[in-house]
Amino acid sequence: MALKLLSKLRNQNLQITRNRNHHRLVDAARFFSEQPVSNLSTPDDSKFIIKNKQQTTTSSLKQHELAKFAAISDTWWDSEGPFKPLHNMNPTRLAFIRSTLCRHFSKDPNCARPFEGLKIVDVGCGGGILSEPLARMGATVTGVDAVEKNINVARLHADLDPETSTIEYCCTTAEKLVEEQRKFDAVIALEVIEHVAAPAEFCKSLAALAYPGGATVISTINRSMRAYATAIVAAEYLLNWLPKGTHQWSSFLTPEELVLILQRASINVKEMAGFVYSPLTGRWSLSDDISVNFIAYGTKDGQ
């Protein structure tokens, strides 16, 4: 019943968006979370527009990327909804984060809350599907997203569990946090960088948010033919996993490019892994194959 209602809601939202944005076929989800750029947001987010106008100059976000996902923000926590692939992939991403950060901060990986005492920022937190597990693992989490609707969904959801109600959610951008001189032990931006207009600037902001010697984790999609075939053709058009138009191949980064721009932002990539999907088990796992989805962990230079 509730599900039906939800999907109805979603359809309506989609229709509205479609009418608004003629240039997009079906404009929908940010399957992944993201960072806003400027002022083209959805009309119902009036506050958000004002906010964004103020920061147009500094933000590294793309305009239309925001509208895409405001439309389906309600469905963030529907594990069978448009964010299903992300829910599916989440444990695998978290396994990588857990093992790299435990090593980086010398934490006991056999403990239920290894991130106790660590301040972590989740840039582009969306509905909070990464922030909540991080909080359950003990971290003091700040989740930021440029879309106010996401932040509202995330906050409402997190408040219902004492373990996650400590998460600080802000409708803001990485750049804004830098201006506020916020610092964190670890900076995480998963599936965000392919949606920003200026990846190099974005990486500089991420670096500025980390304490010297802090950790950074970034994941994205490779600009490879296989990524085109799987992430766009298969995921968006054949399998309908992702709303069409979620990704633009040309804005993807290769692992080499990512390592380079991170290096320029004084982050040294220490480890990289790929995600592979097994159609047999329907599960994702970590592998050496970085030709489609990959995740990188780096450390910020000491002083």
């Binding site: 509730a2 309600d74 978290l94 857990r98 990986p109 239920a112 969904v153 409402l156 219902l160 569990d161």
Partner: protein, 513 residues
Amino acid sequence: MNRVIARKVVPANNQIFKLSRKKFFSDEAAKASTSAASSQSNQESDGNLSFTGNVQPYDIAIVGGGMVGMALACSLATTPLTKHLSVAIIDSSPALANKPCIKREDPPDPRVSTVTPATISFFKDTGAWQYVQQHRHAYFDKMQVWDYTGLGYTKYDARDVDKEVLGCVVENKVLHSSLLSRIEDTDFQKKIYHSRLTSMSLNPSSSSIVVDSTASTEASYARGRLAKLELSDGNSLYAKLVVGSDGGKSQVRELAGFKTTGWKYSQNAVICTVEHSVENYSAWQRFLPAGPIALLPIGDKFSNIVWTMNPEESSDFKSMKEDDFVKAVNHALDYGYGPHHKSSLPGSAGMFSWLGGNVTIFANESFEIPPKVVKLASERMAFPLSLMHANEYASKRVVLIGDAAHTVHPLAGQGVNLGFGDAFALSRIIAEGIAVGMDIGEVSLLKKYEAERKLANMTMMAILDGFQKAYSVDFGPLNILRAAAFHGAHFISPLKRSIISYASGEQRLPLFS
């Protein structure tokens, strides 16, 4: 009443709320422990004062604190990633209220389990096996299986698979209390409710229609983040995950609406403890026209009998005089219903000789007659047999383990081993979920458990059901086929090895390994 109070606490700030809630609980705990002392007195471990009130949700509610439910609790309590979880155990059985005192000199209880090497190693991992070893238990390393036609028999030896033992026979009450003792060694936050489950509700909605965003238990429940359980003594509690380990007639399964598939065998099992004049070291199973009879060593010259027969017969055997029953047992394990296996069965050597190099003749493993039973040492119990399998083991916030998910024919004593397998698999998967910060009631996590255990359980069920069907027909040609299959199993050692491995709890299919 607690709930009402809690709802009024509207936190402006979560930290303040947590503090005030803590205070509230310690006050409430004192009251509750006096008022409800009669119904939920003992068994409280350290640090669960804060859970005494109704409002604080549990991480896990285990409905049914039998062997399988306690195996789950024990595994959770002894795994680094799960030992911090708060667990409610709901069971009205007296075994949980006052731990039974097990005396070595008492004759063994007829309710026993044959635990496989895989189960033994799970128990060792959790540290519960040391308690089993303090009580009566009997390892066996040989098993003879034969049938009444005198045409086929086979012997299994642990050495064939480079194992020390084929299994161990332990009284259920010993397994249960060992798990409980092990849990009590830890500072696991568990609370036992000596009551029955009367209702379970899950609010399916996790949508965005939210008016009230207070972090109260009620609000979490309203948004599908918790399951609510109501008990027959008027208590109610909330949990992130409800585990149904409440047996074949599972209340949890029914309340969650899981459908089942299955059938009754028109068979009953009669169980009892018997005494020999010498100690029995092997397991014996003979297929009779109405079903198998098994004789399992339980230590100190005692053995356990599991005898499958027609329901009418079972009531006769249950009520007949003890001497007559002992005679009937000896008859059934010896010449009753048919001749002994003739070691020089014409053609038996020739039948498989064409296999050439693959044939292994266990020359000194000739047919043996099980030790005579001299005395009945316990009451006789009878219970009907059935095969049942839940179509689903898991949905959001609800999961089934053990007999609640599947009951099997007690042939080969695999039922409880499948249940222990479920318990340890679920515990491991919960730990995996916690490692990556998942909500432990999340359906995607629970489905992982379902996928893993369904395959293992259904395979075993199909094999046992096949055996049962193969022996429920007494028809000449079929008997010979069956005998040939037995011979095959006996003489072709790779096949035999894999059958033993499989029966010992290794997750490989007998023929395709």
